[in-house]
């Protein structure tokens, strides 16, 4: 690299560091001994100086949120022409989840590229019994497509980044039928959301492993077991040793 470019890069590094250290950081996830990488620091300093950069970055986050909102939209058209059960099935397949109809043993799931078999259209007015939405982008608004499924027995939303406490609160619509729930590895669930599971009195198996949002997992698991006496709770992946 040529000498002037090197000196420019060094100058940018130094000025970026200066800007970063001047801003009072409330509580950064990165410890002070590990400063964020160069491109983050550069972006931060540009954002603080130029309105255009700030606007572009906010557009980026708005675009991402718009994408999630579009995926979780209400499938009203499908519901009107095919019925709410097929609409729910279509929604699950579009989100790259898998499901099983009531009374059947075959699972319908899309392949790696998102393509799926359209045979499920043959089974009109058959409710879904098990839904697997692991590692998908399902969120609170997306649950509107699954609200009519009164025979839903198993719901698995393992590792979903958009599942939060409000999603758990909305699960009360399935309170009569839901027997098995898997919410492990979801980063945005906290203790306040687990309190919302009190409505699911029919729950028999609950998996709350490795939830990073809970502060004192041992106590929370005990309180959950008291709250849902007939439910078998699986909670692995926590460090319950006394510190």
């Amino acid at each position: 690299m040529s000498a002037p470019f090197m000196s420019l890069r060094r100058c940018c590094q130094r000025s970026a560091l200066l800007i970063v250290t001047r801003r009072p950081r409330s509580s950064s996830s990165v410890s002070p001994s590990h400063p964020p990488p160069l491109h983050t620091r550069l972006l931060l300093s540009l954002t603080q100086r130029f309105y255009d950069v700030e606007m572009l970055l906010s557009w980026r986050s708005q675009w991402r949120r718009k994408g999630i909102r579009k995926k979780n939209a209400y499938y009203g058209y499908t519901q009107r022409f095919y019925g709410s059960d097929l609409a729910a099935a279509y929604y699950v397949l579009n989100m790259k989840g898998a499901f099983r109809f009531v009374g059947q043993t075959e699972w319908y799931c899309p392949d790696k590229r998102g393509k799926f078999n359209w045979d499920f259209l043959n089974h009109r007015d058959t409710q879904l019994e098990e839904v697997n939405m692991n590692y998908t982008l399902i969120n609170y608004t997306g649950l509107v497509n699954l609200e009519e499924q009164r025979s839903l027995r198993t719901l698995s939303v393992r590792g979903c980044s958009e599942v939060d406490d409000w999603f758990l609160a909305r699960l009360h619509v399935l309170q009569d039928s839901l027997e098995e729930l898997d919410i492990s590895h979801c980063p945005h669930i906290t203790t306040g959301g687990l309190a919302a599971l009190r409505n699911l009195k029919g729950l028999r198996r609950l998996d709350v492993s490795s939830l990073p949002g809970i502060s004192s997992p041992g106590l929370v698991i005990i309180l959950l077991e008291e709250m849902l006496p007939q439910c078998q709770i699986t909670a692995t992946g926590y460090d319950l040793s006394l510190r």
Binding site: T190, G192, R198, L223
Partner: protein, 510 residues
């Protein structure tokens, strides 16, 4: 080659001569003036001192010149940087959650960046007496007035998507610590029919509420004693409690990042002009228009008159006092000028107690028909309880001292009656806060005062201001910038009902 070598040797010898000369000099001086040599070598010679001073003085002169040039921030007049600006478009009096919510929504709704200049004036930055931070932090949709239900539902929607609204670039996301536990209202025989009508109103408005019979109640919550309970109303979704300080700071951080100016000071006076008109009844009315607000700095005689176009009164418990500065309510009785703003502070106590055998994670925010309420606080068996005292026994509002006898007389018996496990409890802490109590009908007042042309009120919520603050902020911003309500129709909560003396009573006030 040999010439270079000779030259090289000559240079070396001359160098040797040069270096040796001082040695020889010292040798010659050694006999006589040795002492003189030694004393002179310890202190610095005068000629060096002068040059160093000169350097320092030149540096100071350079600094003064740079300061005097345009572009530096030095000025001969010592201006207090904490004063509010001399001119602003909208001055919001009161830096609680309602005030900051209005400031955020004003900036959110403006069409051009920098269209409105908003200043929020708060008299106490420690928020020691502010109702926002002293509240129990609950949110519910179980009201009897449809406007209240819609306000709460809209606020719950806001809080669900709070990071879409209030996240600032490169700062931590907002975590409200929302407990999705729901509210549980208990009704006795005589008020059960009111609860049923309320239930149908809430269902029509879209709230997710369920009615429970005593047997269902006992099945769901085995720790409740259902004696005397005829009906219970239970919130399934969008109800619970959260951290009010986080919400306030989230609004404040986002509003400041969008350009709202924060000022720490107290509004002591208004400069206004009065236009006397004659009403149809032959009554003389003084229509006022505010021109500037006098903001007094704390612990100082300094003040700044802020010229403004619109003033928003979000001062909470102290809104009535603020309105009196304009002369509202000081006219003769039975006239419009004689009707004051019916908001006054009312002191309410909250007690924190610990009960080891109390109800667990599924404890809702339980409100008994006697008026006593409690909720879970944290995971360690701590609970928060309180009640509204009778009208005749309202405590003194000059301070925030807690009356501990009140808990023993008025709260504990009902608590122990409702939850038998609470017979054994220990009060660990207590605090008191003000309700901005609307003495007329205990519902919020949102809108312009008929006598003051440019003062908007957003006050009098009587204990549910925090839970309605996001929606109220949006409503007031719509009133100011769009001229009317756009999303929620809150015309029922305007001053008209106070002037016409038609109370819109809320039956579910806690």
């Amino acid at each position: 080659m040999s010439t270079w070598r000779r030259l090289h040797v000559k240079v070396q010898t001359t160098r040797g001569l040069l270096t040796s000369r001082p040695v020889t000099q010292r040798h010659t001086w050694l006999k006589g003036h040795v002492l003189l040599c030694q004393s002179l070598s310890t202190c610095t010679p005068l000629r060096n001192d002068f040059f160093k001073d000169l350097e320092a003085q030149l540096a100071a002169m350079r600094k003064k010149a740079v300061d005097a040039l345009p572009g530096s921030s030095w000025s001969a007049l010592e201006i207090n940087p904490n004063l509010p600006p001399e001119r602003a478009d909208i001055v919001i009096v009161g830096g609680g959650v309602v005030g900051w919510s209005i400031a955020y929504w004003l900036k959110q709704k403006e069409r051009v960046r920098g269209e409105v200049k908003v200043v929020v004036v708060e008299k106490d930055m420690t928020y020691s007496q502010a109702s926002t931070v002293l509240s129990a932090g609950g949110i519910r949709q179980q009201f009897s007035l449809p406007e209240n239900i819609h306000l709460s539902m809209a606020s719950a929607d806001f809080m669900r998507n709070i990071n879409e609204h209030l996240s600032v670039l490169h700062e931590d996301p907002v975590d409200l610590q929302f407990n999705q536990s729901g509210y549980l209202f208990l009704a006795s025989e005589d008020v059960a029919h009111i609860m049923e009508t309320n239930y149908s109103t809430q269902r029509d408005a879209g709230a997710k509420v369920a009615l429970l019979s005593p047997t269902q109640l006992k099945e769901k919550f085995p720790w409740i004693n259902t004696n005397g309970v005829a009906l219970a109303s239970y919130g399934l979704e969008n109800e619970g409690w959260f951290d009010p300080w986080t919400l306030l700071n989230a609004f404040r951080r986002k509003a400041i990042s969008m350009g709202v100016i924060q000022c720490c000071g107290e509004v002591t006076d208004f400069k206004h002009t009065t236009n006397m008109v004659m009403t149809a009844d032959g009554e003389h009315l003084g229509l006022r228009r505010i021109h500037s607000v006098k903001v007094q700095m704390s612990n100082s005689l300094e003040y700044q008159p802020v010229e403004c176009a619109i003033v928003v009164n979000a001062a909470g418990a102290f809104s009535g006092k603020l309105a009196e500065m304009l002369g509202i309510g000081l006219g003769p009785k039975d006239t419009i000028a004689g009707i004051p703003v019916p908001v006054e502070p009312r002191k309410r106590y909250i007690y924190v107690f610990h009960c080891p055998d109390g109800p667990g994670l599924d404890t809702p925010f339980l409100i008994d028909y006697s008026g006593v309420y409690f909720r879970r606080e944290g995971l360690g068996g701590n609970y928060i309880a309180g009640t509204s005292p009778e009208e005749a026994e309202e405590p003194d509002t000059s301070n925030l001292e807690v009356d501990h006898q009140f808990f023993e007389d008025k709260i504990w018996p009902y608590l122990a009656n409702r939850v038998p496990a609470f017979e054994k409890l220990k009060v660990t802490s207590a605090w008191a806060g003000f309700y901005d109590y609307n003495t007329f009908d205990q519902n919020g007042i949102i809108g312009i005062h008929p006598m003051v042309n440019n003062m908007y009120f957003a006050t009098g919520f009587s204990g549910h201001g925090l839970q309605q603050s996001p929606a109220v902020g949006r409503a007031v911003a719509e009133l100011i910038l769009d001229g009317g309500f756009k999303t929620l129709d809150l015309n029922g909560l305007s001053f008209r009902r106070i002037m016409a003396e038609e109370p819109m009573l809320e039956r579910n006030i806690v």
